[in-house]
């Protein structure tokens, strides 16, 4: 594997869609006029860009307003529910089966070790961790051809659950 750089900061994206976490905004929120205007536009369907266009906001204004509202705990990004989905037991078994074919009997033990590293326990493995889980398991496979063979075996599941 090569060198990796990961960004941990979440930038508000033009295509993100937000909704209010609660139907009522707390009275002590101290929101500015433009922040109220943005809140009035939120319907769980309009994208950040659509709202910015409607209110004629610049990119930096848009980013600042949304970031403030997120920081105040008022917004929920639509789509975050998907991040709370879990792999089914059948899917986890499918992943384990692919790993077993290249690693043999120690596969199950290694899967448990990796799940432990990722701070999750069967059967509650978050779907969002699937790529990391596959990568960590792949790192246990020394032979490059076998590593790709395992990754190929799990590709149908990745396609089904993670790709558009």
């Amino acid at each position: 594997m090569g060198k990796n750089t990961y960004s941990t900061d979440y930038l508000v994206d033009d295509q993100d869609v937000f909704e209010l976490i609660s139907a009522r905004v707390p009275a002590n929120s101290n929101l500015r006029q433009l922040e109220w205007a943005v809140i009035a536009q939120l319907d769980g369907k309009k994208t950040v860009k659509a709202i910015a266009d409607t209110l004629d906001l610049s990119k930096s204004e848009t980013r600042e307003i949304f970031q403030n509202l997120i920081d105040k705990g008022l917004l929920n990004r639509v789509g975050d529910e998907k991040e709370r989905e879990y792999l089914t037991e059948e899917e986890l078994a499918q992943l384990e089966q692919g790993f077993l074919l290249v690693m043999g009997p120690v596969a199950s033990l290694l899967v448990d070790e990796v799940l432990n590293e990722l701070n999750c326990k069967r059967p509650k493995v978050p779907l969002s961790l699937l790529p990391v889980l596959i990568e960590f398991l792949s790192l246990e496979i020394e032979n490059e051809k076998k590593r790709v063979k395992f990754q190929k075996s799990i590709l149908p599941l990745v396609r089904k659950r993670l790709l558009k």
Binding site: G2, D13, Q151, V158, L162, L163
Partner: protein, 154 residues
């Protein structure tokens, strides 16, 4: 033909464009989502190739980079015969992209048509730091980095 192998990448969440370069900096194939300005794809990709080339002058083991830009992030990965550049929004899942590209490159390498195509195209070395790709500011920047500019721009 090549993009067929990287099709999964075009379906990954938040991906706006995928570009495949050969090692002489020429576009082999590119794809952009309909809501993305396709005109800037190649320029963005070339910029990333240059960044890559500079980093690899200092450390040839660099195989992957992620660069932030005003509209999101760009993931780039170099393989023995080509470089892959993925342009996306700020929530690109690099681990997923790495997995998808691993499988894709393995299947592509097994394709004799691809091997023929690459043989025809590749001059055998990366020359994206060639003067024809750089403007004066970039040349001065490289010189300040103490990179062997004579070699890099020959």
């Amino acid at each position: 033909m090549i993009l067929e192998y990287f099709k999964d990448l075009t379906h990954a969440p938040f991906v706006d464009a995928v570009i495949v370069f050969d090692h002489s900096g020429r576009v082999v194939q590119k794809w952009a989502s309909p809501d993305f300005n396709a005109k800037i794809v190649e320029a963005l990709g070339l910029h990333i190739l240059q960044t890559f080339a500079i980093l690899r002058l200092g450390d040839p083991s660099v195989k992957e980079i992620v660069v932030q830009w005003e509209r999101g992030e760009i993931y780039a990965r170099t393989f023995s015969q080509l470089t892959l550049v993925v342009v996306g929004k700020s929530r690109l899942n690099f681990i997923l992209l790495r997995l998808l590209s691993n499988v894709a490159i393995d299947e592509l390498n097994a394709n004799p048509r691809f091997q023929k195509l690459i043989k025809k195209r590749a001059p055998g070395q990366q020359d994206v730091l060639n003067k024809k790709w750089l403007d004066q500011i970039e040349i001065e920047y490289l010189q300040k980095l103490s990179i062997p500019i004579k070699m890099a721009t020959e």
